[in-house]
């Protein structure tokens, strides 16, 4: 057990934590925007899958990582637009349309993979970028400043998202729409437009989350590559109380727990693997239960806006 506290293990654990947290963070930050505007998008996992395939395919055939990332984002936006059309314009039940989107993404990504690629192939993903000087800091330097570019982007997005939500008129509009769409509407805010924008932006980040798996961590594509991470990301939004910083802590907690359970197994600590596998899920529930602040849900969450009826 004491081995767990050695510097080598701690460095390793924190490193793995960042790798595992990155896709969750992208997707959960995106979902935060979507939910702040009042739309629960349960289709995140499907968006991640299709984008992951798109990014992978571009890198496989074209070799450009940048282009792969852009394609992943575009696929995300397209699927976000579909989600918005169904749930904002058509006022559909968001839980169900999200599940539809997820099924579509799961099926479509596997189908395209089968038809266009056929067998598992690896690609050269985003390389680690060592940030000079900062990476020299003892202990923390190699953990924080020797990652691939998507890890940096994901964590840089946290303050940016916070700033947009809390300090800009766009953020104000998003929150107003999620809190009280009728009031926002009467103040001249285009509710549907704001929701379309938020959902699409969120879906774009979900697309980046997909790319963060297929062309940055595992560097390949396979059926159901995300294995449900999109749903975990949605859960983390509730964990984070709809704030970017809270969401980041959620992603880090979940990932460090996962990293910890792997280390417990590697070091031969006598816990059944199944129990170790449960750790991240149990810990997330427990920590949220005992934490003081829970965050307040946007009042109009999951509620389509019909002018004159709310």
């Amino acid at each position: 057990m004491s081995e767990l506290l050695s510097a080598n293990v701690l460095t390793g654990m924190l490193n793995t934590m960042l790798t595992l947290a990155t896709p969750l963070l992208f997707a959960a930050l995106g979902e935060t925007f979507s939910q702040r505007s009042g739309v629960v998008n349960l289709g995140v996992d499907g968006i991640m899958l299709l984008s992951a395939f798109g990014a992978f395919y571009v890198v496989l055939t074209n070799g450009s990582l940048f282009l792969g990332l852009v394609v992943a984002m575009l696929i995300g936006i397209a699927m976000g637009a579909a989600m918005s059309f169904v749930s904002v314009t058509m006022k559909a039940e968001q839980g169900v349309s999200g599940i539809g989107l997820q099924m579509f993404g799961l099926g479509m990504s596997s189908l395209l993979f089968k038809v266009m690629v056929g067998t598992v192939k690896t690609v050269q993903g985003f390389p680690r970028v060592r940030i000079p000087l900062l990476a020299e800091i003892p202990f923390l330097g190699p953990i924080l400043f020797n990652n691939n570019v998507l890890v940096y982007i994901a964590f840089a997005l946290v303050p940016i998202c916070w700033y947009v939500l809390e300090r800009t008129t766009i953020g104000l509009a998003i929150k107003a729409v999620g809190q009280n769409p009728a009031a926002a509407d009467s103040r001249g805010i285009n509710v549907d437009l704001v929701r379309y924008g938020s959902v699409c932006f969120g879906a774009m980040l979900a697309g980046m989350a997909g790319a963060a798996i297929s062309i940055s961590t595992v560097n390949l594509f396979q059926d159901n590559l995300t294995a449900g991470q999109g749903f975990i990301a949605v859960a983390l939004v509730y964990f984070g109380g709809w704030t970017p910083v809270g969401v980041m802590f959620g992603a880090l907690l979940f990932s460090v727990a996962n990293s910890l359970q792997l280390w417990l197994q590697v070091l031969g600590v006598n816990v059944p693997a199944g129990l170790a596998n449960m750790l991240p899920y149990i810990l997330t529930i427990v920590v949220l239960t005992i934490s003081v602040s829970r965050g307040k849900a946007p009042a109009a969450l999951n509620r389509p806006f019909l002018r004159g009826e709310n």
Binding site: V9, N15, T16, D223, N258, Q265, V266, A273
Partner: protein, 334 residues
């Protein structure tokens, strides 16, 4: 609103017209009675580089060996992990008169047992299991994964420099479990000092977590990794990124994924067994036997990768282990 409705109906009409046109152009081909018809139902995709792929490529081999598409018709249903869906698929194929119907998943046992008595002229095969339910038109098959695991372990035990070897598994059941058991004992037989660490991710499909598990092993000092299930592609990727870590594969040939680091793979080769089943079925023997792929019957093969240098000592030890397993002087404790 009206304009939108018009556009929508226009699109629908176009789709319908195209549909009809294409439908008119395609005509259905009649099945030739001379053709031997095989249908297979699998729990994952034919491209999973693991369990389902091993069966699918064996079937393709059999088809080629028997004279191509004119001699053998092959159809499949993949991703049938939901048992009632598989039940429908299997019964559907059987009632369409397929000569050999394969349920390639241990979860399909109950269905095969129900189904086979209704189609006495159809040969059924299912695995991985050894139970033919006492029916004379059911074949059962499985693979003694521990055998190749042992051989892989022997080579790994002799090749490790750091003395630490990592095993990345999904859930400790089925052939993942027997493979790892064999691997562990193989390592131990040649290297009593080596530290063999195991991780189980609890999922057959979570590639990202598998990658993280492999990275954890590497940080812990492992210079050799192995593992089972379709999600090990994640482990292979992690080994590849680390650069100086070697990989041992199982179920299917994994060299193509990482030509520089895969030392050897235990390959399940169902083709000989399938050939035998097909020949039996053609001569009217529809089942009653169970097959176990072993090193002895060459259903299990160790495929070395030419691209990686294996010390002569290790190759010799591996050959000795294979001989020992075949003649029974090496017993693997499951």
């Amino acid at each position: 609103m009206k304009r939108r409705a018009f556009l929508v109906s226009l699109v629908m009409l176009m789709v319908m017209v195209t549909t009809l046109a294409v439908a008119g152009a395609t005509s259905e081909a009649e099945a030739d009675s001379e053709v031997f018809r095989i249908a297979v139902v699998m729990p994952s995709a034919t491209t999973d580089t693991a369990f389902s792929q091993s069966m699918w490529s064996a079937l393709v081999t059999v088809q080629e060996a028997m004279g191509g598409e004119e001699a053998v018709e092959l159809v499949y249903s993949e991703n049938m992990f939901i048992v009632p869906d598989a039940a429908a698929a299997l019964r559907d194929y059987a009632s369409q008169g397929y000569d050999l119907v394969i349920g390639h998943g241990s979860q399909y046992g109950t269905i095969i047992e129900d189904l086979a008595p209704d189609f006495p002229e159809t040969a059924f095969a299912w695995g991985t299991d050894v139970n033919t339910f006492g029916l004379d038109n059911v074949y059962a098959y499985t693979a003694a994964a521990e055998q190749g695991g042992y051989v892989n372990g022997v080579i790994a035990g002799l090749m490790t420099q750091s003395g630490t070897i990592g095993v990345t598994g999904p859930v400790e059941v089925g052939d993942a479990r027997t493979y790892v058991t064999g691997f562990y004992q193989g390592v131990r037989s040649v290297n009593s000092e080596a530290n063999v660490a195991e991780t189980w991710t609890g999922s057959f499909s979570d590639v990202a977590l598998m990658t993280a598990a492999a990275q954890t092993h590497i940080l812990n000092g492992a210079d050799i990794l192995t593992g089972s299930s379709q999600s090990v592609v994640g482990s292979i990727g992690a080994a590849l990124e680390a650069g100086d870590v070697l990989w041992f594969g199982t179920q299917a040939e994994q060299t193509t994924l990482a030509p520089d680091i895969v030392v050897a793979s235990q390959v399940y080769d169902w083709s000989m067994m399938l050939m035998e089943i097909v020949e039996n079925a053609q001569s009217g023997v529809y089942g009653g036997e169970s097959y176990i792929l072993t090193l002895e019957n060459e259903g299990l093969k160790i495929a070395y990768n030419e691209g990686v240098d294996v010390p002569a000592e290790a190759v010799e030890a591996a050959e000795a282990a294979i001989a020992g397993i075949i003649d029974g002087s090496i017993e693997i404790d499951l």
